[in-house]
Symmetry: C2
Subunit: 399 residues, 2 copies
């Protein structure tokens, strides 16, 4: 099947989430990903050992993040290993790394050096705070970026603690933003032949989505955005309401939708009240509205509520757990859960791709590589090392 990024080669010197998620997306779009890992002696990428794992001890997270990529082993702490990395960087279109700033420079693999060797190289870095500024050298994990990007301060309830998002959204949004940046740089390279350096920060990538929602209150009125639980400062009704057997989310902030909620409740009498007025008046009655709706939803099951509200064109939802989401007919229709065939573990489920293309659907059902699975292909075919040379490099713990 045709792929969008046909022929694009990416040297992937990333670990864990932000970087590997970025290259997973680019792999789904058809790029060739050469994942550089520590040698067999040094254990490969850390996440290979993560739990939960299959019976054959293949990590589920590793499989999900790395399906379809190629794996080569390389010891960049050795001078010979660094030399090989420099050779690889001259054979690819894109290099991506997510070490703490300074690390690649110390290895002689910094952007200046490699872009001199390969002026067409797109050199993309992910780091916690970016490659500039006072905190650039701090070691950052996802929750630190969630905190410092501001999203933690506005997630959760006003009377509770700031709350982390239940997925590593700092790492993952940075991965997506970095893919955008890389593809934009590729467009520039197509026209000019020139590569360039991209410097993405986890903090920036959390801040931007947070600010897109919370910014105006602070920027225009100087008010500090608070936590609103499942509600919202500017919209009502929009909240999580209790049902007999669970919860429903009702999001009906447009006037017609609000009217439909009240009609469905049998409270047409409220249509002329301030509770059903235009947004800015209605929002003052948020608490009253939430209480009224909650009293009503409590008397019905989730299924009853969804049926009644959907009939009235009111956006609403149950709150399925993750297993229910995976078995949702819509998620199944969209092939968002796939199976890959791992040689050792057999069929393993993994998340699918959100990219639905008419002409370049690609194929994403590839297994994750064994450690060093593609050493021969890359070191022999791409760089021209002989069997004897590779054997010596392996013995010397270089590859």
């Amino acid at each position: 099947m045709a792929v969008a990024l046909e022929g694009i080669k990416i040297l992937d010197m990333t670990n864990w989430y932000a970087g590997p998620f970025c290259t997973l997306l680019l792999r789904d779009l058809g790029a060739e990903i050469i994942k550089v890992e520590r040698t067999v002696k040094d254990g490969g990428e850390g996440p290979r050992k993560n739990t939960p794992a299959t019976k054959a001890e293949e990590s589920g997270a590793f499989i999900q993040l790395n399906r379809g990529k190629k794996s080569v082993t390389l010891n960049t702490t050795s001078p010979q290993g660094r030399d090989i990395a420099r050779k690889l960087a001259q054979k690819v279109d894109i290099l991506i790394e997510n070490f703490t700033p300074g690390v690649m420079d110390k290895l002689g693999l910094g952007s200046k050096e490699l872009c001199k060797l390969n002026p067409g190289l797109i050199y993309a870095s992910n780091s916690g705070f970016g490659h500039t500024g006072p905190r650039q050298y701090d070691v950052v994990f996802d929750p630190v970026a969630q905190a410092m990007g501001g999203i933690m301060s506005v997630t959760g309830y006003a009377d509770g603690t700031p709350t982390k998002v239940g997925a590593p959204i700092a790492d993952l949004t940075t991965g997506i933003f970095t893919a955008v940046a890389i593809l934009a740089a590729l467009q520039y390279r197509n026209k000019t032949g020139q590569g360039q350096v991209i410097d993405m920060s986890l903090q920036d990538c959390v801040f931007l989505p947070t600010a897109m929602w919370c910014g105006p209150s602070y920027f225009l009125e100087g008010r500090v955005p608070q936590r609103f639980g499942n509600g919202d400062e500017w919209l009502t009704p929009a909240n999580l309401y209790p049902a007999k057997d669970g919860y429903v989310y009702i999001a009906a902030p447009l006037l017609g939708q609000t009217q439909n909620v009240f009609k469905t409740m049998g409270r047409a009498d409220l249509l002329t009240s301030p509770l059903c007025a235009e947004g800015n008046i209605r929002i003052k009655h948020k608490q009253e509205i939430d209480e009224l709706i909650g009293e009503w939803t409590k008397t019905k099951t989730v299924a009853e509520l969804l049926e009644m509200l959907k009939k009235a064109d009111v956006p609403c939802s149950a709150v399925p757990d993750f297993a229910q989401v995976c078995n949702d007919p819509q998620i199944k229709n969209r092939e968002m859960v796939i199976e890959v065939e791992q040689l050792l573990s057999g069929k393993v489920k993994a998340a699918g791709s959100p990219f639905k293309f008419s002409k370049t659907p690609g194929n994403i059902k590839f297994p994750a590589p064994f450690l060093g699975e593609n050493n021969v292909e890359i070191y022999s075919d791409m760089l021209g090392y002989s069997e004897a040379e590779m054997s010596k490099l392996a013995n010397d713990n270089v590859i």
Copy 2:
């Protein structure tokens, strides 16, 4: 300044968040965005009226989302308006829309029709559940997609409610994913001259990040991922801890980091205990570890804790509120808060761009357009309408 997406023209028929956020990113990268809005008589895009607004009644959210875009007015409910939309679609590289599936088809502006007129057109759709599957026609707002994508079920505390992320993460991640898809399709078009149809769903775009974290537990072991508050099922120590005057987040799941936490606490005695063993043993003592650390952090201020922990190379963070984040020296260094000069409102603050490029930094400090500000430029220069024709179209409420 050079831009990455020089010369790329995008017809933007989107409303509110997912779509406009996507085209904002593409604008930051240098594309020309022609934002299609309802006519002056019909009020333009809804968010122009949103609060908070400047004294000149320009919406802060609208400015943030639309800075640097061009605005044309067009009434697509009139046959003449649709005809103009079809003409515009033949002059651009990319069209993006986020109506409920079926709406564009009914207007005669569906992907089949427009891609026939312009075979090079990349036609990208955003919708709640995508353009396939049993729920494709449901009306969806962000929290519905957060619920149905699974992230709500794993955000918040085990003994509390499922919790919405404090920013419209469904809309915003869909916007970023769609930008990735569009740029990949552009790469394909560069090679083949062919456009194609892209179909992105909010639910898919929430599900993927959620599944990247929660998937393995369910896919490999059949366990349903739960809510862990600020903690994590697989990592410890990694939690929010109380300080004398606030909270600190400590993320020290690597063995060396855990050891450094205990050393910093003056508890070197724990280094040989199961609380400081390798990951899988240590995780069984998560609660004990959290309690011990919490007892220690309670006795110190946030500033004291950060100083001690950073000295020991332990990833940690305060939890600044949004105002503090905006004034963070690192965020300032990265220019993540910018000012744009609105003709009516004067200087207005807005979120900056996370894309830091060495050769195509672009310029993002442009104001949001007046409604129909670019009608003459687009309708006269691009489509060739005369002044008299445009005047008639305006009188007829077509533009």
